[in-house]
C-alpha cells in the first residue's frame, strides 16, 4: 500500500496527524470524516496511526521511530497508550501526548487514554533504524552506538557529519537547540550540525 492510500485509509482523507488540529470535542472528531468507531480489533491499526504522528521538534521522525510509545492496549472500552518522555523536562511531552490523542481520535478511537510511563527510562537505543536514517537525512547525526557508561562519561565516540559523511568532527557544546541534541561542527565541510546524543 502506498503512503498516500495508507493515510487515506487511516484517516478517511482528513489531514495528516500533527499537521492540522481540531478543537472539537472528542465525540465529534470520532464521527468526523466518516471513520467508524474503533474497537479492540483495531489495535494493530492504532500502531499504524501512531507511525504518522511526528515529533514536533524533529518533524521527520515519528513517535514510533523515537521509541517513546511503550505500549498500546485496550482497556474498559478505551485505547490506552503508554508514552515515555525523552527527558524529564522535555517541553514537547504534553504536545506529543495531545497530538497522539488527536490522531487516534481522527482515526476513530474514542477518547484514548495516555499513561505517562517513566520506567524503564527512555534510551536512544530505542530509536529505530528508520528513525536514525530519517534523522541523518534531516541533517541531524543520529546517536552513535548504544548507550553505555562509556558514552555517558564522554569517552570519544565517532560522530559522522550528516552532510558530508566525514568522521573528522568536533563537539562545540554538549547541549544544543533542544535537550536531546548536542552541537557539533564538521572539520571537513565546516558545517555545524546537531547530534542526537546518547542517553
Amino acid at each position: 500500500m502506498s503512503k498516500d492510500s495508507e493515510l487515506d485509509a487511516l484517516f478517511g482523507g482528513s489531514p495528516v496527524a500533527g499537521m492540522g488540529s481540531s478543537d472539537q470535542p472528542s465525540g465529534l472528531i470520532a464521527s468526523d470524516g466518516g471513520a467508524r468507531e474503533a474497537d479492540e480489533s483495531d489495535l494493530p491499526r492504532a500502531w499504524q496511526v501512531l507511525e504518522q504522528v511526528m515529533d514536533p521538534e524533529v518533524p521527520v521522525v515519528s513517535v514510533i521511530d523515537l521509541g517513546i510509545i511503550r505500549d498500546v492496549t485496550w482497556a474498559d472500552g478505551h485505547l490506552q497508550v503508554a508514552v515515555t518522555p525523552t527527558y524529564s523536562g522535555c517541553p514537547a511531552t504534553e504536545l506529543i501526548e495531545s497530538e497522539v490523542c488527536k490522531a487516534l481520535e481522527r482515526a476513530g478511537f474514542r477518547a484514548p487514554r495516555i499513561e505517562r510511563r517513566l520506567a524503564p527510562a527512555w534510551t536512544t537505543d530505542w530509536i529505530s533504524e528508520q528513525g536514525r536514517e530519517r534523522l541523518r537525512a534531516f541533517g541531524i547525526a543520529p546517536p552513535s552506538g548504544s548507550t553505555s557508561k562509556r558514552s555517558l562519561l564522554g569517552e570519544k565516540d565517532e560522530i559522522s557529519c550528516p552532510h558530508c559523511g566525514s568522521h573528522d568532527t568536533e563537539v562545540v557544546s554538549q547541549f544544543g537547540s533542544t535537550a536531546c541534541k548536542a552541537l557539533y561542527r564538521c572539520r571537513s565541510c565546516l558545517e555545524p550540525f546537531d547530534y542526537f546524543k546518547c542517553i
Binding site: 524529564s88 523536562g89 517541553p91 520506567a119 527510562a121 555517558l152 562545540v172 547541549f175 542517553i199
Partner: protein, 254 residues
Amino acid sequence: MTDNKNDLIEYLLRLGDNAMINGQRLCEWCGHAPALEEEMALMNVALDLVGQARNWYEYAAELLADGRDADQLAFTRDERDFRNTLLVEQPNGDYAVTTAKLFLFDAWHLHTLQALSASKDERIAAIAAKALKEATYHLRRSGEWVERLGDGTEESRQRMLAAIDELWRFTGDLLAGDEIQQRLATAGIAADAEAVASAWQATVEQVFGAASLPVPQPASYFYLDGKRGLHTEHLGILLAEMQFLQRAYPGATW
C-alpha cells in the same frame, strides 16, 4: 510505608526543591550568558532540573493528598517551607561562581541519583533513573568547566579559587544527612548521606586534581540548615520573582 509517609514527603520535597531552585537560579542567565552555546547549555540543564522537580513534586503532591498539585507546591509555599540545600539558592555571581556551584551540586546529585535508582520505592527509582542520565551530562559539563577555568589563565584560576572559597562553606549543608533521611535510607528508600558524601569527595578530588585546584578541608558547622527551612537571605528574593505571577493571580493558567 504509612509509617514512613511523612518522612517520604519531606524527602521528596528536598529533592524537588533542590532541582527547582537550582533550575530557577540558572534561568537568570537567560539572555546574559557569556556565549550563545553556554546559554543554551545552561537553559538545557535548567530545563532538565525543572522537569525533575515536577516529577518529585507530583509524587509528593499525591502523598500529601491535600489538594495541592506540583505547581502549587512550587509557587505557593513560603521560604520557610522550602527544603533545598543552601548552595543552590546562592546568587550566580560571575561564571566561575556559577560553574563551581553547579559542579559541587552536580557531583552530589549524580551520586544521590545513582543510589536512588536502586530505591525500594519504585516511583523514586523510576524518577531517579531518568534524572541520572541527565545529571551525568550535567556533571560532565560542569566538571569540564571547572578544569578549564581552574587550569586556564591566571585570571580564570583566581576567579575559580575565589568561587570555591565563597561556596565551600555551604557544602556541609549539602552533604549532611539527618534522622529523616537516615530512617528512609535504612528502609532502602533514600540515599545514604555518608556514602554519597564520600563518593562526592572522590569526584571533587578527581576534578580539582585535574584542574590543579586545592581541595579545601571539610566545611565546618554553618548556622543555617536548608533541610529545616533555615535559608540564607537569597532564597526569599528568588522566590519573590519565581512566585510573583501565581501570588498576584492565584490559579492563573495560559
